[in-house]
Amino acid sequence: MALYSEKVMDHFTHPRNVGVIEDANGVGEVGNAKCGDIMKIYLKIENEIIVDVKFETFGCGSAIASSSMATEMIKGKSIHEAMQLTNKAVAEALDGLPAHKLHCSVLAEEAIKNALKDYYDRNGLPYDEKDFPDCEHCGHCD
């Protein structure tokens, strides 16, 4: 299908890291069913390293592909490296997304940051609020 790149279709039809981590120590969920996309990210962090990551996504093909790609990009990385993940990097790794689907990569970035924030909160670690933009800032659900 010409709508999406081969990379997107590969990650959509063979998503990596789908599922749940029962003993996750960082969980983030963004989006809402009303606007048609929800992403949930589960992180298992040991010694500041993301040793495992899983996702669940309700959404379109590019939302599922973005979740899959984003989890692959942070698996095995430190939480500090994961914090540097941008939606742009996710979209580029997927060989691009159609313009009206870019919000899917934004959602992936936010879901991961949301899960990291949860980890910081659970462990009482200090962080800068500015590093965790609100889901609403993309305007997708307006």
Binding site: M1, E56, G59, A63, I64
Partner: protein, 395 residues
């Protein structure tokens, strides 16, 4: 294997239609407005096609205006009725909440000009009644425009009853019959229809050609200016190959309406019955008064575009009212109009059949769709929340 079940979007052309077009691209290429013999041969073809289309609708040939398709016909019909109403000081239009955008956007434009539009509620039975139309008619109503059958959910409206109500009240009645022509028996005189839009590619004809039936004496306003074609009501050299292809396809479809409807509705009913077994789903549309080929569902906990992409990977070409397929972010206005909430409206699937589909294809669809729905539910956080009781089922 390709299973094409998106016939409400467009159909494959019939060989009859293709054969009817070819001479007008090779040997009879004249302009019907030309006086010479090559032009006059084309003129004869145009007249014959007009007669065929008129016969299928039960009207006179001079009541048929050829257009570029259904959207143009809708635009011209609605704007014409509005201009006529305006001259009489009538600026109220009645329509329904689940019309095609060709109608809704034209009405929006008129609203900006000061027209008042009443969109009838379609939640009850996923349809409208003639009573609703009757109750909505006011002294200043200048047009009732309702679709004949809904493109997404297949509901067939009570057109003859609405026509009777409009006739009694003296209000012009237009129907967007794009999904109905060639599939349902239509007689514009018996059904008191003043204007009717149709499109060739919905019944195995070519794309880019359609027609507007307009009752003799009703004053049409031009959308396209620039020539005396179509009795001065639609300028532009006639699309002779397209028009001849449309007429041939229309005759073929109308000659076989009953046998096609029997075959197609049997496949439709098999799909509706089989897919209804998927837990937490709902059929959309009027189950009794329904297009022979329409199957429309909402599945809770999943999103329609991902469903379509996975089905496509399995060779099933379907459609959905899902936001993500159209490039807009809102789910289908039709599904919202019948009362589906956003969460559920996102998970829609439309399968639209034609007489060339087979029962074997239906078996294949019934095997694949439940698997794909389950696969997507298994990775959906919404489905998990539903299953674990964190979120209440809607369907």
């Amino acid at each position: 294997m390709t299973v094409y079940v998106d016939n409400a979007a467009t159909t494959k052309m019939s060989q009859t239609a293709i054969d009817a077009m070819l001479p007008y691209m090779t040997t009879i290429y004249g302009n019907p407005s030309s006086l010479h013999s090559v032009g006059q041969e084309a003129k004869e073809a145009l007249d014959a096609a007009r007669q065929t289309v008129a016969d299928c609708l039960g009207c006179e040939p001079r009541e048929i205006i050829f257009t570029s398709g259904g959207s143009e016909a809708d635009n011209q019909a609605i704007v014409s009725a509005a201009r006529l109403g305006e001259r009489k000081g009538k600026k109220h239009i009645i329509s329904t909440a689940f019309e095609h955008h060709a109608v809704l956007h034209t009405l929006k434009k008129l609203e900006k000009e000061g027209f008042e539009v009443t969109l009838l509620d379609v939640r009850e039975g996923h349809n409208v009644t003639a009573r609703q139309v009757k109750d909505a008619i006011r002294p200043d109503t200048c047009l009732v425009t309702t679709m004949y059958a809904n493109n997404e959910i297949g509901s067939v409206l009570p057109i003859a009853e609405i026509g009777a109500v409009c006739k009694e009240a003296g209000v012009p009645f237009h129907t967007d019959a794009v999904q109905a022509v060639g599939h349902l028996h239509i007689n514009v005189k018996e059904q008191n229809i003043d204007m009717l839009s149709l499109s060739a590619h919905k019944f195995h004809g070519p794309k880019g050609v359609g027609a507007l039936y307009v009752r003799k004496g009703f004053p049409l306003v031009n959308i396209i200016e620039g020539g005396a074609q179509e009795r001065g009501k639609r300028a532009g050299t006639e699309n002779i190959p397209g028009i001849c292809g449309m007429a041939a396809a229309m005759k073929e479809a109308c000659d076989h309406i009953d046998e096609n409807a029997a075959k197609v509705s049997a496949m439709r009913d098999k799909l509706i019955e089989g897919l209804s077994k998927i837990p937490h789903c709902a059929v959309n549309g009027d189950l009794k008064n329904r297009l022979p080929g329409n199957v429309s569902f909402c599945f809770e906990g999943i999103e329609g575009e991902s469903l379509l992409l996975l089905l496509d990977a399995k060779g099933i070409c379907a459609s959905s009212g899902s936001a993500c397929t159209s490039g807009s972010l809102d789910p289908s206005h039709v599904l919202l109009a019948i009362g589906r909430v956003h969460d559920v409206a996102h998970g829609s699937l439309r399968l639209s059949l034609c007489e060339w589909n087979t029962m074997e294809e239906m078996d294949y669809i019934l095997k694949e769709v439940p698997e794909v729905v389950q696969y997507l539910r298994n990775m959906s956080p919404v489905w998990r929340d539903l299953q674990t009781g964190k979120r209440a089922y809607i369907l």
